[in-house]
């Protein structure tokens, strides 16, 4: 960090060799996040388009239990972001033991989110007979968009849990620096951020009236 800052300070103009004042790992992760944000934006805009263009779009979610269930999932994901921030904070102070504990807490929340989500999927598939290609309410696009969007998001959460596991393992063995934990944190917060749009658009807008 300090050499990056020093390089920026030495330059003639306010940029020089390090125009953003961040290391390349962090900048790379930011670029990935922006491109991934566009992927999710395209999916969510398409979903909104299809909903508006389709009369009788199914509204399958009862407030209880579906919305209550997904609210608990949201709370787990939001809490995992807080524990991730704490992990980055601990690593900045060089406390590796605490960092690993916070990372494990984050992984626990993420894994719980995935578990709850899969329970919900199982309920939809087995009891409500919804598949990506068909559902009992008539509009087959519902299943395709629902499983497409939530599936891609859940894949991100699952990859994030594995990513944090690798970081936690390395940190516990005295490897990796603060910036590595910080970059993994960026990815994790992004996954949380995407859910802040999936949750209202896919769940809250589809409550059975």
């Amino acid at each position: 960090m300090s050499e990056v800052k020093a390089a920026a300070m030495d330059s003639v103009w306010d940029g020089g060799v390090s125009p953003y004042g961040v290391n390349s790992k962090k900048f790379g992760m930011w670029l990935f996040i922006i491109s991934d944000a566009l992927t999710f934006s395209a999916l969510l805009v398409t979903y909104t388009y299809l909903r508006l263009a389709t009369p009788n779009w199914p509204l399958p979610f009862h407030f209880s239990p579906s919305i209550v269930f997904s609210t608990v999932m949201t709370a787990f994901l939001l809490t995992s972001s807080l524990t991730m921030v704490m992990a980055v904070h601990s690593m900045a102070r060089g406390d590796r033991k605490k960092t690993v504990l916070w990372l494990l807490a984050t992984m626990f929340c993420g894994a719980t989110f995935c578990g709850l989500h899969l329970t919900e999927w199982r309920h939809l598939m087995v009891e409500e007979k919804v598949t990506p290609l068909s559902n009992p309410w008539g509009e087959p696009l519902f299943g395709a968009t629902f499983f497409g969007i939530t599936g891609l998001h859940m894949t991100h959460v699952a990859i994030g849990v594995i990513y944090l596991g690798i970081i936690a393992f390395a940190v516990s063995r005295g490897k990796f620096k603060h910036e590595d934990v910080e970059v993994s944190g960026l990815y994790w917060h992004f996954v949380d951020l995407v859910w802040m749009f999936v949750f209202p658009l896919v769940y809250l807008m589809s409550v059975k009236g």
Binding site: Y20, G21, L52, A53, T74, L78, L82, L193
Partner: protein, 104 residues
């Protein structure tokens, strides 16, 4: 971290906790709206508005962007917002899509 960190105070644990409480609070409002069931357009506007606020909080504090150099924000976000707005160009078609189909 950056030159800006000298001007802005670095976030403390208290800040993070406050942001987390705010995020939970906005989520609670959203769920409450789903419970009382407003008009779809009103509801969609409020929900997306709240989501944008939540996203901004996450990006600014959790993702630390508020404390990075401003050039990083300028490089990443105007482009992203512009591209997302471009996606909405087709949105008016959604109302016409049914009548635009050729008669069968």
């Amino acid at each position: 971290m950056s030159d800006h960190s000298a001007e802005h105070a670095e976030p403390t644990i208290k800040t993070f906790n406050l942001v987390w409480v705010a995020l939970l609070f906005f989520t609670a409002i959203e769920v409450f709206l789903a419970y009382i069931q407003l008009e779809p357009v009103t509801m969609l506007t409020i929900l997306v508005g709240l989501s944008v606020i939540k996203a901004a909080l996450i990006i600014a504090y959790f993702m630390h962007l508020k404390f990075e150099r401003f050039s990083l924000f300028l490089t990443l976000f105007p482009m992203l917002i512009f591209c997302i707005l471009l996606l909405f160009i087709w949105m008016p078609d959604s109302h016409r899509a049914l009548t635009m189909r050729p008669p069968q």
